[in-house]
Symmetry: C3
């Protein structure tokens, strides 16, 4: 049975117009998520759906703030998908601890926190207080596959039996 968090997750997915049901694969000798005790580390997520990175190019030049916020939303939905797959349910997330948002930007584009708000708002919408996290936003020179935004997370799961 879907929990309220699941329902809100599906609502955001529908709003974005993308499904996050498939496997989120990575190439090479790394993995999208690792659990250590109750701490979960999630690899950098770009706005990829299926095999395609949907939003590419430099924010402030090729890409608008609104598009970059959408990119951040897709990235964080991928992160939540990984947490759900690993923990069995979004309800097993005790807290999102850290979100780092990297924005491929033009030299004078300073609205990096505003880009990151796209991801933060989704975390809060779906997880409520458990989604309120610490955050760092920076503007970088390039990102893998020319993605406009990349983000990674650290989250805490509820203790086993908790």
């Amino acid at each position: 049975m879907d929990t309220p968090r699941d329902t809100r997750f599906q609502a955001v997915a529908a709003r974005l117009g993308h499904s996050f049901d498939g496997p989120l694969q990575v190439g090479g000798h790394y993995t999208p998520i690792v659990q250590h005790g109750t701490t979960l580390y999630i690899s950098g997520q770009v706005p990829r759906v299926g095999q395609t990175v949907l939003i590419t190019g430099r924010v402030g030049a090729d890409v608008t703030l609104a598009q970059a916020q959408t990119a951040a939303q897709i990235g964080v939905m991928r992160g939540l998908t990984l947490l759900r797959q690993t923990l069995g349910s979004l309800d097993q997330i005790e807290r999102v601890l850290r979100l780092t948002v990297y924005v491929q930007c033009s030299p004078d584009f300073t609205l990096l926190s505003e880009v990151a708000d796209g991801a933060s708002d989704v975390l809060h919408e779906i997880l409520g207080e458990a989604g309120v996290h610490t955050r760092t936003s920076v503007g970088v020179y390039q990102l893998p596959k020319n993605a406009s935004v990349e983000l990674d997370l650290i989250a805490a799961s509820r203790p086993a039996g908790g």
Copy 2:
């Protein structure tokens, strides 16, 4: 009663000429500090005092090394302020685990470790051996509000009752 760490904190604040007594607020759906067990995560800090980011622009072009070091000092004092507010006392910090320093720099400005020394020296001055941390320093393309330096931290608190 002020502890030696408090006294040294006030000495650095006086030397910088800024008060760190007010609330350190952030907008949006994130928070400046989260505790998970004995691990504390602190959001990216820019050299903001009150409502103003004091040191902005590109280090190596608009901003000198000395100014950038001051920016790093202000950022780390904000981080210590958050730790003190959360833990009740700087004496509850067992160790600073990680400092990441992002410097908005000109293309050929390589003195990024030297900028970060501004923050590392303050941590050591106030916390002693507990302030000796791991560190990563990178030069980035932009930072929120055109800040010259942004830094985040991970710290460990003493175990409860410890």
Copy 3:
């Protein structure tokens, strides 16, 4: 007696043509590695051997992908060296949790994951499944000492007595 992990470490060192036997010192008030419980944080590593940063300049302009991969390999070998020195043996590594790879790149160089593969492949070659980590790769504007690549790690040690 050398363990299989030690033997594989020496094989990679021989292939790179560098020794990682000396102390890995840092200047200033920080330290290359800190342990907190079973979590180990490692400072940003550049491709330094002895006193020299071997691979410098902008990847995609001054430096090829292959050279950048070598830089990533040297950085991660330094990280493994620090873990071995701290834990006594590479066999005490339970898991590499997180690898963050910063690449000083030209504006259109997007093969940042491919650079990071240099480090990820070494972790897997030496540690096997314990070396399979989460990863974030970003392209930055500058790095300390004009290094082409910098990387940092978080790792987990086996529980004491484990």
